[in-house]
Symmetry: C2
Subunit: 348 residues, 2 copies
């Protein structure tokens, strides 16, 4: 199973937009066992779109195209697809109704341009887009499936997850895949690997383990394959629990969430409050904590004591501690912590 991703748009070529769509698709397709063979970014012109179709149709199992489906004049993809597949745009009442409702709900007037979004190629299967007005389109020819999707990342991702994964699985008879994430912190990748080596080498062939490290965090992903959803999920979770048991308190979550999200959930469960004393991080931890929706329920505030004078005066850190142990020391951190808990009066 091989795929090609084609992203359309001058803003990608001239560097105004960094193409994150194709990275998303590369990752997601790999999870389904579909290998991305090539990805290409082209200009939104009839000539370039036709050229790329000519190059890949019949030579790969799947082509995903993103972009060029907007209602404006510079979006050429729909017309080009019609001419390439020898078909014409026809009015789609379901899509029209959806767009009409969308505008009505927002109290906006539909223009002729918006109405055009309900005209779709006669021979394609429409892939619904519940997040916008540009529908996805599914074509088949010469043994290749071509899916055209809007370029707006959240629309594209939503259509991919809600519609395409299942359609790909059926069409290409792909195995069921279940992922289980184990989030760890405070333990380096190689040390972690040593800890679970024995479990890793015992894994059956249909359960695979991936290490996904990022600064301060190592994410483990267990991927199981099989035919029955329930059995695969059960199989993966049995192995995951073994790993969790071995890693103990280094595991901060067993789903794909960030450390700040896990901290937030724990605090909400405990009905506890949080304050922070930061130094060289300059406010970054507060930024991460407050990025989580609902963080105002537990996060009260912080003192950023970048300079030692602030550590001393606001947080009451003993100048002797600073001069004996230095600003970056366990002793200073403990004193900063005492200071901020005292000052803001939170549980943590």
């Amino acid at each position: 199973m091989q795929a090609v991703v084609i992203t359309i748009g001058d803003e990608i070529l001239n560097g105004t937009t960094v193409d994150t769509n194709s990275a998303f698709l590369g990752k997601e397709l790999a999870l389904l066992g579909i290998q991305l063979r090539e990805k290409v970014s082209i200009s939104d012109t009839d000539h370039h779109i036709r050229g790329s179709l000519h190059r890949y149709m019949g030579h790969t199992d799947l082509i995903i195209m993103t972009g060029g489906l907007g209602p404006t004049l510079d979006d050429k993809t729909k017309q080009t697809l019609c001419s390439y597949f020898n078909t014409e745009l026809v009015f789609n009442a379901t899509v029209f109704k959806f767009i009409e409702n969308r505008f009505a709900q927002r109290g906006l007037k539909m223009t002729e341009r918006n109405r055009q979004q309900a005209f779709l190629p006669a021979t394609c299967t429409v892939v619904p887009n519940t997040m916008g007005t540009a529908s996805g389109m599914w074509f088949e020819r010469d043994g290749t499936v071509l899916v055209s999707l809007p370029g707006v990342p959240y629309e594209m991702k939503h259509i991919y997850r809600s519609e395409l994964v299942e359609r790909f699985r059926k069409h290409f008879a792909l195995p069921v895949i279940e992922n289980y994430y184990i989030m760890t912190s405070g333990i380096g990748e190689s040390w972690l690997a040593d800890q679970i080596e024995e479990i890793e080498t015992s894994l059956p062939l249909d359960v695979r383990l991936a290490y996904l490290p990022s600064p301060g965090i190592v994410k483990l992903r267990l991927t199981g394959r099989g035919n029955e959803q329930k059995k695969v999920a059960m199989r993966v979770s049995v192995w995951a629990q073994q790993i969790e048991l071995r890693l103990g308190s280094h595991v901060f979550a067993n789903e794909n969430i960030s450390l700040q999200e896990a901290v937030g959930r724990r605090l909400l469960a405990l009905q506890a409050t949080l304050s922070l004393a930061e130094s060289c991080t300059g406010g970054n931890i507060g930024r991460l904590i407050t990025q989580i929706p609902g963080s105002s329920a537990y996060f009260l505030g912080s003192v950023i004591s970048y300079d030692n004078s602030v550590k001393e005066r606001l947080l009451g850190v003993d100048p002797d501690i600073l001069s004996t142990h230095g600003a970056v020391s366990e002793e200073t951190v403990a004193a900063m912590l005492d200071g901020v808990l005292d000052l803001i009066g939170t549980d943590y």
Copy 2:
């Protein structure tokens, strides 16, 4: 003038790495007046590299390839280029000396793999890389220039800026281009455009103005073209000064720097200190300020008063102000400011 960028590496295709190299190149090439026609990411195999060379050589003015030049076995580009251009790897004493020095300076031992990096295709022009061990290579055939660069972004960018811009200019007889940046804040794009409309419409054909908006900031870029560096620079700066004069205090810098960098420079010049009181930004402003090297010379610290209780108790904001005007109000901001200046004792 048209170019194609080819990025090589499985990590780009499977989504582990978001390809930012090609966005950088698209932007930089556009500044030189070279249009990026297509960009493609391929796997690091002989087959795919040859296929892409076959597709584009002789059909575009310039191809820039990035990646696949590391010393490990999975990096195939150099071998493939040798066979494609009917040449062989020869020892390059200059490159060898550079690599040897690099290892000596770091007190590291050179391995056979590192030594291999000094073997380069006989028919290419070596493009020096002073940031790493993989040299750039310049080939010409069928009216196309092919430049192969390492994929590590800071090495690639450095080679591009320090070596390639000048070589491209000479080889393709490109005009001299001078950019002048005017950084503005506190003024929206359309309002700004109204203010300078008269100047914009009077611009000569060889001086162009671009609006580059980002949250809170509108960057203006004036680009001049011509044959003589000095004349072009002078011409652009005359027009830039007109715009700066019109925009007055909305201009925070006349070079391409961030707001936090401009603030830092001003504070250093004034030998003044800074503290912050943040609320819903959660520490983000402190994070941005402390990202600037040397910020410890002026930034002492902040109080993040996410919760109103912290605004009242630490910053001494009158509860009446909060209940009358709300937490997000000019009055509350003024009181928070008084509080933090008092508490941390900075000039600003």
